[in-house]
């Protein structure tokens, strides 16, 4: 484990970049509006919510787990923030902390069920997905929460660099990716996450507290979902009880497209950002071309299979 475990995956690492680059070149030839600063910064705004969810999802997938609850937990967080700030009249920072607190509690719940009762993550998070959805609907009476204080939506505001209008939320997303990348690559805790995903039993035998690492990963994912809640509120300008329904699978898709192995232990968190951008670029580019977004769904499906196949093949080759 002296070397970073990310060094042996030429396919998983290169494929996503090539796909993104290929898509960008293709769309640039199809629309002269594609490669403008305004448009590229728009794509960054559009992916910020899924992007931050995908960080949490990456951490969990690196441990060979999966989190189906991520989108719904994010929606619950955004409803809690919006309602606490409007109806309870809490100061905005406190309301935000409460929202992140709720998503973190869900992360803790997922983590405890996985580590203490040893339930499979797929089942645990399938359960909490439904629980989070139901609480969101009940607590909001299925009603959208409007007229939010400016502080809650501040991350949706933009600043200009040339023709680009960059949202503060996009900046935060990139910063969080850099942070996650640093922790995973340069710290002992990061190495432990890879180790648990590679071989939990061997990791336990060398004295690393695998269960504690796992629990910490689920809690950290909950924190990321909470930040995504805030970004969702900032982006749409409302507390939306129906948010998160597509983000759930979008986040998993992005992680897989980014070359992180569903079998655990291999991948780079920055790849997930590439995965998120691939989906965002296709949706944007096809709209600029005037093509139905159903093609985006088609392309995403093909890319996901290619990504997993590349992972599987490189794994065989490594043996």
């Amino acid at each position: 484990m002296a070397k970073s475990p990310t060094h042996h995956i030429p396919w998983g690492a290169l494929g996503p970049w090539l796909a993104l680059l290929g898509a960008c070149i293709f769309f640039a030839t199809q629309s002269d509006r594609f490669l403008t600063g305004g448009n590229l910064s728009l794509i960054l705004q559009q992916v910020m919510v899924v992007g931050v969810i995908a960080i949490g999802q990456t951490l969990i997938i690196l441990t060979a787990g999966i989190d189906l609850s991520c989108g719904m937990v994010m929606a619950l967080g955004s409803i809690v923030m919006s309602k606490f700030a409007t109806e309870l009249g809490l100061p905005v920072p406190l309301a935000i902390l409460c929202g992140i607190g709720v998503t973190t509690l869900f992360g803790l719940l997922n983590g405890l069920l996985v580590t203490r009762i040893k339930l499979p993550p797929f089942i645990v998070t399938l359960g909490t997905l439904n629980i989070a959805f139901a609480i969101t609907q009940l607590y909001s009476s299925s009603q959208t929460i409007t007229d939010l204080p400016g502080g809650l939506t501040g991350l949706g505001t933009t600043f200009t660099i040339g023709s680009a209008e960059v949202a503060w939320g996009s900046v935060l997303m990139v910063a969080l990716y850099v942070l996650a990348w640093f922790v995973l690559r340069e710290t002992a805790s990061g190495r432990h996450i890879y180790a648990v995903g590679n071989n939990a039993e061997a990791t336990r035998l060398v004295g690393i507290p695998t269960q504690r690492v796992l629990l910490a990963v689920y809690v950290a994912a909950g924190v990321f979902y909470g930040i995504a809640s805030l970004l969702s509120v900032a982006r749409t300008g409302v507390g939306d009880p129906n948010a998160g329904q597509t983000e759930n699978l979008d986040a998993i898709t992005a992680v897989v497209l980014g070359g992180t192995s569903l079998f655990g232990g291999r991948g780079i968190v920055l790849g997930s950002l590439i995965g998120v951008l691939i989906v965002g670029v296709f949706r944007n580019g096809l709209t600029l071309m005037g093509v139905s977004s159903i093609y985006q769904v088609l392309v995403t499906g093909v890319l996901v299979i290619l990504a997993v196949a590349a992972d599987q093949l490189s794994r065989k080759g490594a043996r």
């Binding site: 640039a28 030839t29 002269d32 594609f34 409007t146 749409t236 300008g237 129906n242 329904q245 709209t287």
Partner: protein, 337 residues
């Protein structure tokens, strides 16, 4: 930032080539964006077809997009932004979430984009420049009046299969139906479903056939002597009919509905549905595109609410209620004929 520096020159060349190619075009046709709730619901498929046809006729370019699922507000926002990036000066939208879409509409309008709601309003309605839609309350009133006359004095035991909680279209049709039937009902502005003792079971069908069948089966457990079913749309009516048939009760129960899709009209002709209020998505779309072209040419925006009309189509006409037959309905229906 996500492009490797090595490739930037290549991309720049491509971008340059693309931009010089398009400046060769003399006058760009006006670009109009249509954002529907989903790309797969036949109602919206038809609406898109209507918009495309009208755009072709008027020499405009139509971009279309949608949320991934009903209720996908973020998806609708993304589609809208991408269309504006593509140069659309008019956006036609059927809001999935009437309230949640409002901040995004405001952003678009602040950029000088004309936004017109089709089919269902934003909340508040004046968040958009204009609304081209069926009067859903009237649609409900028409089938309510029909049911009242057709019941001929029988004591009503009504099952209401509604849309989903808090949705204005669901509330307007439901309350209109009750008003038409002569029951106490909230007015057209209310988003609350009115209740009455005559309604023995009320449930959300989400406008989906399979879900409607399930909730109708459950309603039959609660109220086996039901004799009238109000449904939010024709797929829900078909689901309700399946449930009744399985219980052997399809003969004694009348179903009324709203939409006027071609399958629904067929069901009306076959006696599955007694009467339905027909709406006109093609017309909404065509009017929206025309308003977009008008805005591009003259800078004049559409405004206010334009009723795109609703017609009562009945299998059998009843005395005192004006209706058209299913043949007329089939000529004007939307969906697969």
């Amino acid at each position: 930032m996500f492009i490797s520096p090595r490739f930037v020159p290549a991309l720049a060349v491509l971008a340059l080539a693309a931009s010089t190619a398009s400046t060769a075009l003399a006058a760009d046709p006006p670009v109009i964006g249509l954002v529907t709730k989903t790309e797969t619901n036949p109602f919206f498929v038809k609406m898109k077809e209507g918009a495309q046809e009208e755009a072709k006729k008027l020499g405009a370019k139509l971009l279309s997009g949608a949320g991934k699922a009903d209720g996908d507000n973020a998806g609708q926002i993304t589609a809208m932004e991408n269309m504006i990036a593509a140069g659309a000066k008019t956006i036609l939208i059927t809001p999935s979430d009437a309230k949640a879409i409002v901040p995004a509409i405001k952003k678009a309008r602040d950029k000088g984009v004309q936004v017109i709601a089709l089919d269902s309003p934003a909340d508040p309605p004046d968040a958009t420049d204009a609304l081209f839609a069926t009067n859903n309350y009237t649609a409900g009133v028409l089938i309510g009046e029909y049911a009242k006359a057709a019941m001929a004095g029988k004591t009503p035991k009504i099952v209401a299969l509604d849309l989903l909680p808090g949705h204005p279209v669901g509330a307007q049709r439901h309350n209109g139906f009750m008003k038409g039937f002569g029951l106490a009902a909230n007015d057209a502005k209310s988003n609350e479903l009115s209740k009455a003792p005559e309604i023995v079971c009320m449930a959300d069908s989400f406008g989906d056939q399979a879900k409607a069948q399930t909730v109708m089966e459950n309603c039959l457990q609660k109220a086996p002597d039901v004799n009238l079913v109000y449904t939010i749309n024709e797929p829900a009516a078909a689901g309700a009919y399946n449930a009744l048939k399985r219980a052997g009760k399809e003969k004694g129960v009348m179903i009324v509905s709203v939409d006027g899709g071609c399958q629904g009209i067929k069901d009306t002709a076959a006696g599955v549905i007694a009467a339905t209020s027909q709406q006109y998505p093609l017309k909404m779309a065509a009017m929206g595109v025309a308003a977009g072209v008008e805005f591009a040419k003259t800078g004049k925006k559409a405004s206010g609410y334009v009723d795109t009309g609703v017609t009562l189509i009945a299998g059998k006409s009843v005395a005192g209620v004006e209706s058209k037959d299913t043949k007329t309905g089939a000529e004007l229906c939307w969906g697969k004929k």
